[in-house]
């Protein structure tokens, strides 16, 4: 009975997910596959954005941080909310206003030149693939926990199901299934928190507040200032307009929906961080103090409910992973088709659609292979943030705001940003005690900005402007 019930719950979840994915229907044109025909309403843009950013880091990771450091990470998470609101106010409407733009590479290509588009495309595909590997790793851990399967087969199950509906349905299937998955976790995890607060904490509000104060003080004591600055920088910039978010900005029905979708997603992130951290704080009076951070949410759920309830909440955690994974697979495939293949070959719509589908499968396969090598969810995400923020953001954001950006500045910024970020990551792997992971983003971003300034100055001198 103990193994049958989880299987029934998981099977029921897969049936409902399949029904939702089938209702989304297979994409028949590349514009459907890449941008859902630019017809997304506000609630779906918001739900899909929130489902994409609430991955294992913002659920399992934040509950663990709440357990160890109390509300310290809420302050750091506010940088993420601010980033979403600023993107909504300043960048998303500008992106949405660009004509014939499917990807960030397209946007960079329109502002600089085709070479810059190809470089941005290569970076986008690589970052999406590694992000997908991090998600596959996290999904494998959860599935293996529920069913006791070996880790490699758990990774295959999670990535296989996600790749299946993303390959056929493209962005529309991704957004519709994201909305379903968002509904599941946005209702069930806060309900879990309310149940814990009302029925499982002895001493009620006073005990909870006491644990929150103690944990936050411990967090402040154990985190250095440079780590806090690095984390704030990583949360402020690391996920800014990563390809799946940019796709949703571009696929919104209007520029207004694009702006409001990002702003609402930013505000929701504050609420979400409070709920996740509160779960971690509440867990302090239920779990042993030595519990490993990444296990806090799983162990808390396990201590509250057994059988079907436990399986349901774990399936919700898998959906947290899948909703991020599908967005990354689709964004990587669209970037590959639009930014790497299309600049070299004139593709009719049907061929572009097929290339996009094949790319989805290849990215999913690479993610499966790389997943076991991912060090940990948080470290994996920090690596992705560092590369993305340094390689793409200076060229993209400055390019959207200045009148005549120089291609040399774009190329130099992307090249130097990638090189410095990769070198710093390799250095961190070899000498982990000499450098703190969150701090890597600061020199890498600084180098990319300097390279941009140099390229801009050289470009202006060359053209005599």
């Amino acid at each position: 009975m103990q193994t049958v019930l989880p299987v029934i719950v998981a099977a029921a979840y897969v049936v409902v997910l399949t029904f939702v994915a089938l209702r989304a229907r297979a994409a028949r044109q590349f514009s459907e596959f890449s941008l859902a025909r630019r017809a997304l309403p506000l609630a779906l843009v918001f739900g899909s954005l929130a489902a994409t950013y609430v991955g294992p880091g913002f659920s399992i990771g934040f509950v663990g941080k709440g357990f160890k450091s109390g509300f310290l990470f809420l302050g750091i998470g506010l940088a993420y909310a601010l980033q979403n609101i600023l993107v909504g106010l300043l960048i998303a409407p500008r992106l949405r206003a660009l004509k014939d733009c499917h990807t960030l590479g397209d946007a960079i290509g329109q502002k600089y030149d085709r070479r810059c588009q190809i470089v941005a495309g290569i970076i986008s595909v690589s970052v999406c693939t590694f992000f997908a590997a991090v998600m596959a790793h996290a999904g494998g851990v959860v599935v293996s926990d529920v069913f006791g399967l070996p880790n490699w087969s758990s990774v295959i199950v999670v990535v296989g199901i996600t790749a299946l509906y993303t390959t056929f349905g493209g962005l529309r299937a991704s957004v519709i299934t994201d909305a379903f998955q968002f509904t599941a976790f946005a209702i069930l995890l806060p309900v879990t928190l309310l149940v814990v607060l009302i029925f499982h904490i002895k001493g009620g509000a006073a005990t909870f507040a006491g644990e929150a104060v103690t944990a936050t003080a411990e967090g402040l004591d154990s985190t250095s200032l440079i780590e806090i600055v690095g984390l704030v920088a990583a949360f402020l910039l690391g996920e800014t307009l990563i390809p799946p978010y940019a796709n949703r900005a571009l696929a919104s029905r209007t520029t207004r929906i694009s702006r409001n979708g990002f702003m609402l997603a930013g505000l929701f992130s504050v609420v979400w961080f409070i709920v996740m951290i509160a779960l971690g704080v509440a867990a302090r009076s239920i779990l042993p103090s030595g519990t490993v951070e990444d296990r806090v949410l799983l162990n808390l759920v396990g201590s509250l409910t057994h059988g079907g309830g436990y399986a349901l909440l774990l399936v919700v955690l898998v959906s947290v992973v899948m909703s991020s994974l599908d967005s990354l697979l689709n964004a990587g495939a669209v970037a590959f088709t639009e930014d790497i293949v299309k600049p070299f070959a004139k593709l009719p719509d049907e061929k572009a659609l097929n290339v996009g589908r094949c790319a989805t499968i290849v990215i999913a396969a690479i993610a499966m292979v790389v997943a076991p090598a991912v060090p940990s969810v948080i470290d994996g995400l920090l690596i992705c943030y560092t590369i993305w923020a340094s390689a793409i953001l200076p060229a993209l954001i400055i390019g959207l705001f200045i009148k005549r950006p120089h291609p040399l500045a774009g190329i130099l910024s992307m090249g130097v940003g990638t090189f410095v970020a990769m070198s710093a990551i390799v250095f961190w792997f070899i000498f982990p005690s000499m450098i703190k992971a969150p701090a890597i983003i600061i020199p890498a971003l600084g180098a990319a900005l300097l390279a941009y300034a140099l390229g801009h100055w050289l470009g202006r001198s060359k053209s005599g402007v």
């Binding site: 209702r23 017809a39 309403p41 519709i176 509904t183």
Partner: protein, 53 residues
């Protein structure tokens, strides 16, 4: 102070649950409307950039 912290956490949880229901309603509308569109599919409208999902 303890009661205020507790109240903020409870309000945040209720807000998150409300967001979940809002997106659920939009999802149901989107997939049922899409089915209707599919049943009355006209090739001439297929290239429209502004229809609902």
């Amino acid at each position: 102070m303890g009661v205020v912290t507790f109240a903020i956490v409870v309000i945040a949880a209720l807000f998150a649950i409300g967001s979940g229901f809002w997106v659920a309603i939009a999802l149901v509308r989107a997939i049922s409307r899409h089915q209707t569109t599919q049943n009355t599919y006209h090739p001439a409208n297929d290239k429209s950039d502004h229809g609902d999902i």
